[in-house]
Amino acid sequence: MLFTQPIFLFFFAVVFALHWLMRRNGARKVLLLVASYIFYAAWDWRFLSLILISTLIDYCVGLLLVKKLRHFSRGTLLVMSLCANLGILGFFKYYNFFEQSFSGLLTLLGFHFHPVAPIIVLPVGISFYTFQSMSYTIDIYRGKLRPTRNFVDFALFVGFFPQLVAGPIVRAAGFLPQLRTARRLDLVKFKGPIALFLCGYFKKAIVSDSLAPLVDRVFAAPETFGVSSVWLAAVFYTVMIYCDFSGYTDMAIAVARLLGYELCVNFDFPYFARNIRVFWQRWHISLSSWLKDYLYISLGGNRGTRFATFRNLMLTMLLGGLWHGASWNFVIWGGLHGLALVIHRLYSERIPSDSAARRFVGTLGIPLTFYWVCLSFIIFRARTMENIAAMLRAFLFFDSVGSRALPNTLWLWLIPLGLFHWLFWRVRVIDRIQRMPDWLCSIAFGLAVFLMLLFLPFEYKPFIYFQF
């Protein structure tokens, strides 16, 4: 069930109505939990068991962590929780990857090792809810959070359907307190969430799904396309992945708000970032902050030597890349960003902030960062090494022997898209809409829905980030 499908609108209308018709907070939470599981089961009910296992383990470990146990230390409990969570994630997401990589390595060394590879289906959203669940136990272990005794609360925190399959990765400290008090309908501001949902829908269903066929054509055989088309595909993919993922997040936040809950912001106009560090403060914020809090800082952060800091940065980004998928593409993509962060750190240390060179580079910061992001997304998206090589040759060295071409007029699409994005960044349109009169909003929403349906591509495409 995708947010952009009519079936979801029907599902949500029922959940919304029942939720606000119920007076007791407990009943509402049970309703939301059941709805969340139905939402997930619509994809594959068998994998609900994984969510339940993850939920049960971390609920119990959370409670045990604050008790004094004779046989288990707190550290052991935490390790047990992490092993269980990462074990499930590792098996379902990375088993085949590690198996293939290992047998590939052995083949290189002259051994022949071909074990039977089971066909493992990747459960949707497993990376998201596993990280979310893990953060709960780690926070309790660190003494930053008190465990909840209410199982429904915790299960709902793990499985809340707006953010279940593609984030944002919510922290317990931010979400559990919201579950303790009954949400009030009169405090829900409808205009903002509806505008946000429409905005997300526009990004996903109109922009991303319209660009997808063009991008797919070029990435399928980049060597047959000219330089301009390769550049166009790289830029379009960068736009597409942002619209796809941030569109999903916008819809998730809007849906949660309509039910009275607040989710964390996941994107803050990352393509206007002046450098790669700022980019990562604005791109997939819930993941980057998770990686920072639970991985980078756990590794030592920037408290050690300069080398240790760079090592921690690289490790964090490599693992962050691997989080996106079981493929070397993602690892290299993470490595590239790690490298860029290291270079940026070195540059920031060496060049004084008020120097002319810094100011000069600063003015070029946005296009330079965008260029780097486009470049890294080529590796993220391409499926074979040959494709990566062909794309990079055209993108970096303007070298291509291909004769096929996408229409150059497609570059013009970037103007309204860029303006639209810039407008939302500078004016904060959603906040403005919240202050508009009701009648004007109704007309604006009506027209927006009409226009979006008018330009809706026929086919529904799944969200890119579902696979992560």
Partner: protein, 420 residues
């Protein structure tokens, strides 16, 4: 209610939010709760009890909030509806390349034709108007005919076509010759949500299609799924979903009609080869494969087919469902009102896919339709099913189309003379 003392009084339909507080001088916004007669009744109820109606602030907020939400929702829906109506007026829907080209052609030359054949690809590929006209002229009838066969046409879509034809006010057109196979067609599993399917899903056509679907013999799950598909088409039509992109893409050029709407599959193949399309080889291979299967079927399974025909012929007397007959009657009435005569025939198709015992003859005997001929009859008309006369299992080849058109012309003359 919200902690105030008092008891509920009956005030029209919305009494649950109205409360009476004896002797408490509280003004309340009754106008948002009830209007007109209900308001008068409320006032009567209040005055008879010498009390006043009272609403707490929270209730008032809830009531006014509800009214505001309803108003906003109504405004939202109205804006969408108006925008869609305006768009539909400004950019009339083009349904399908072939359909549009045939409609355009008829629009321009409606007074050229006396006979129009309507049906699916069976008709499109199987009736050659030139041969038909020639045969008629041999029999002393100087008529011109047009083939309005469109692949996969459904009965409801045919209704829409007939409406469009009637709207052209044809002066010369007197005979609509309709293939009865279309009555048995339901929305197929392929080609859903095409522009053409969306185009004919008016509310009434959708309703008819759903009623026919539920009156049929399909499995419950299939019926449910197809109903969802039909409703999806209706929503797509009403909300003009996806049409903006189509407009930006530009409409494909409408091809000019040749051969009075007829095009054999051989002609299509030749065109594909001449234009260098890469589908030509595929088409040829596909045809060889299909014909091979067909030959095998015809040589080996013919005895089984004969048995089946015997079985089917026993049920041939059965009339279709009441709703189908009603739709047919409506269609015939509409055609007759426009000064034309509806005639029916049954095209020869694959006997393993299309039921042999189509109720054509029963309908004819019951006086529901005027039947020119039932050609879906391998036992009596084996030459129409011979492999050389078939392009594939369902469609006629050029020689087959010629043969069929000759037979059709002879039967048409016989029937038309009776109903002139």
């Amino acid at each position: 209610m919200d902690g105030e003392k008092g008891r509920l009084v009956w005030v029209g339909r919305r009494s649950n939010v109205v409360k009476r507080m004896g002797g408490v001088p509280t003004v309340f916004p009754i106008r948002v709760i009830c209007r007109g007669r209900a308001m008068e009744r409320a006032m009567e109820a209040v005055s008879s009890d010498k009390g006043l109606l009272f609403l707490s602030a929270a209730t008032r907020r809830r009531v006014t909030g509800g009214c505001r939400a309803l108003r906003n929702l109504t405004l939202f829906v109205v804006v969408i509806a108006l925008a869609n109506v305006a768009f539909e007026r400004a950019f009339p829907r083009r349904s399908h390349c072939l359909l549009d080209s045939k409609l355009n052609h008829l629009q321009q030359q409606i007074d050229r034709y006396d006979v129009v054949f309507i049906g699916s690809s069976l008709v499109y590929r199987g009736v050659d108007p030139a041969v038909f006209n020639e045969e008629l002229s041999k029999r002393g009838w100087q008529l011109d005919s047009f083939n309005f066969g469109v692949p996969g046409i459904q009965f409801e879509e045919m209704g829409l076509l007939i409406e469009r034809m009637v709207a052209m006010n044809p002066e010369r057109l007197k005979w609509l010759v309709i293939d009865l196979h279309s009555l048995s067609y339901l929305l197929g599993s392929t080609g859903w949500y095409t522009k053409r399917h969306v185009a004919w899903h008016t509310p009434s056509a959708t309703l008819n299609a759903c009623v026919r679907l539920w009156g049929g013999r399909k499995r419950f799950a299939t019926k449910l799924n197809l109903t969802r598909v039909h409703l999806g088409h209706l929503v797509m039509k009403c909300l003009n979903i996806g049409r903006g992109g189509q407009l930006l893409d530009g409409s494909p050029e409408t091809p000019t009609e040749r051969n009075r709407g007829y095009e054999s599959l051989e002609m299509s193949y030749r065109t594909a080869v001449e234009s260098g399309g890469d589908s030509a080889e595929k088409q040829l291979a596909e045809r060889a494969r299909v014909l091979d299967v067909y030959r095998k079927f015809y040589s080996e399974d013919v005895s089984a087919l004969k048995t089946r025909i015997q079985d089917d012929s026993e049920t041939d007397g059965a009339l279709p469902g009441a709703f189908d007959r009603l739709l047919l009657a409506r269609q015939n009435k509409r055609i007759r009102e426009a000064g034309m005569m509806p005639l029916y025939f049954v095209m020869p198709a694959d006997p393993t896919v299309f039921p042999i015992g189509l109720p054509a003859r029963a309908l004819h005997r019951a006086g529901d339709i005027v039947l020119i001929g039932d050609y879906h009859d391998p036992l009596n008309l084996p030459e129409l099913f011979a492999p050389k006369n078939r392009y594939d299992r369902n469609h006629m080849s050029e020689t087959g189309a010629r043969l069929l058109s000759e037979l059709l012309a002879a039967d048409f003359v016989r029937t038309a003379e009776r109903h002139r």
